[in-house]
């Protein structure tokens, strides 16, 4: 049995027994881990509020090979992202980030870039006072890039001309944005996009996270960008076909 120490972000918790909790965390060094936190729901628990979803923590746990559930020994908060649970507008996108992340990461795959993307997105959502949905759009665009499915939006994926027209299509099957002049054969399963949507997609791809909440995105364009990114990710990742958080995002 080895003692491991790593940074982690709590993705999900569930109750176990009378006072314990099982956590699913995304760790910086060991991918997704399930941890048993004994007595975590007791009012006198040493863990306090450190094991809630979103929390960025430093964990020490006992790892035994072949066991799916590891035992948590210590947890200390690095950042509680306390701004997130203060408003539903921030909470729903943040929960969608956790759900998507929980579904796309399997087992102990180490993924420090994804960890940093999640941490950065949650930090932005916690601090922002405006346009929290931008955080989710940024996360989805960057996630597609990290997984090798970057959604090219600067140039037409077929004729490679710069996107300067007003008529665009998103080809779900090919995962490409094409201009209106390109042959219809490439546009068999398509969504029609506005110029604003294509420009936003290009900006989300280029963004480093800072300033993403300052992007002025109209409600309609925001919905269209979300729809395109979701369809794109869902086409490549079966795990995302029925997201639990989707009805909450649609209702907000």
């Amino acid at each position: 049995m080895a003692i491991r120490q790593t940074e982690a972000i709590v993705l999900k918790t569930m109750t176990y027994g009378e006072t314990s909790k099982i956590l699913t965390v995304l760790s910086k060094d060991h991918g997704k881990i399930s941890l048993l936190a004994k007595g975590a729901r007791d009012t006198k628990s040493k863990y306090g509020g450190s094991l809630e979803p979103f929390t960025h923590i430093n964990v020490v746990y006992y790892e035994k090979e072949g066991r799916e559930l590891q035992y948590l020994s210590e947890a200390s908060v690095l950042n509680g992202f306390l701004g997130i649970p203060c408003s539903l507008e921030r909470l729903y996108p943040a929960m969608a980030v956790l759900e998507v992340c929980s579904r796309v990461v399997h087992g102990n795959e180490e993924h420090p870039k994804l960890f940093e993307l999640v941490r950065q997105t949650l930090e932005g959502l916690s601090k922002t006072s405006k346009r929290p949905m931008n955080g989710l759009l940024y996360f989805m665009a960057q996630l597609a890039s990290l997984l090798g499915y970057r959604l090219e939006a600067e140039r037409c994926s077929h004729c490679l001309h710069l996107m300067e027209q007003s008529n665009f299509k998103f080809n779900v099957e090919y995962g490409r944005v094409v201009c209106g002049a390109c042959p219809p054969a490439l546009q068999s399963t398509t969504l029609t996009l506005t110029k604003e949507t294509v420009a936003i997609l290009a900006q989300l791809n280029k963004s480093n996270g800072a300033g993403v909440f300052n992007l002025a995105i109209s409600e309609n364009s925001g919905r269209e960008v979300f729809r395109v990114l979701l369809k794109h990710l869902q086409y490549h990742l079966d795990e995302l076909t029925s997201l639990n958080t989707l009805p909450f995002l649609n209702a907000s």
């Binding site: 009378e18 509020g49 450190s50 979103f54 908060v77 306390l82 649970p85 539903l88 909450f248």
Partner: protein, 198 residues
């Protein structure tokens, strides 16, 4: 291991379905019951049956009760202008044990949890909104976790247009503990929820 008695095997199997009871504990309980006088076992068996047959949900507050409405909703001495919203019926018992609260209750039967797809339609928020018209204060005594926060914000949003005070129970340091060992999240919430002493 199989016992020579199928009856004993069945009771062990049934008892081990209970939360926190493993097969060994179930076996110990079964042998304990076997040694008890017949009338005591009959009382236990009858109590278990009564639990299913007599206990219902109060149609007003959704607390567990044997009479509808429940004794709390029927009690004319209680403050009928204050309602305390809790997640489950055992939270009512916990608050009643304090002997400090004299208002009514509303049991939600769960909390909003977007990660598990539990939405407002899955818990008794609609029924709460129907009761709030005659209230002066709604106290949200809901567990201090992310689901609890989501539920509190949702209810507060729904009640925002009504002339009713909405409060939530304090979050912070448990009595008897040391600040030194409190985690950052708890301590931050405790500072936010500080009360004026003088």
């Amino acid at each position: 291991m199989q016992y020579t008695s199928q009856t004993l095997e069945r009771i062990i199997s049934e008892l081990s379905k209970l939360p926190g009871i493993g097969r060994k504990t179930a076996q110990r309980l079964a042998f304990h019951v076997l040694k008890q006088p017949r009338n005591e076992v009959a009382i236990l068996a009858q109590s278990l049956l009564d639990l299913k047959e007599k206990i219902i949900r109060c149609s007003l507050c959704f607390n567990i009760t044997e009479t509808d409405p429940c004794s709390i909703c029927m009690n004319t001495k209680r403050d009928r202008r204050t309602i305390c919203v809790v997640e489950e019926a055992n939270d009512v018992l916990a608050i009643e044990r304090t002997d400090q609260y004299r208002g009514l209750y509303h049991v939600l039967g769960g909390l909003l949890n977007p990660l598990d797809g539990i939405g407002p339609g899955d818990i008794r928020i609609k029924e709460l909104l129907e009761r709030v018209d005659s209230m002066q204060e709604v106290i949200l005594a809901i567990n201090p976790n992310v689901s609890g926060d989501a539920t509190i914000m949702y209810i507060a949003e729904k009640l925002s247009g009504l002339p009713v005070k909405i409060s939530r129970i304090a979050r912070g340091i448990p009595i008897g503990s040391d600040l030194e060992f409190a985690d950052m999240t708890t301590l931050t919430r405790a500072m936010e929820g500080r009360v004026t002493v003088r």
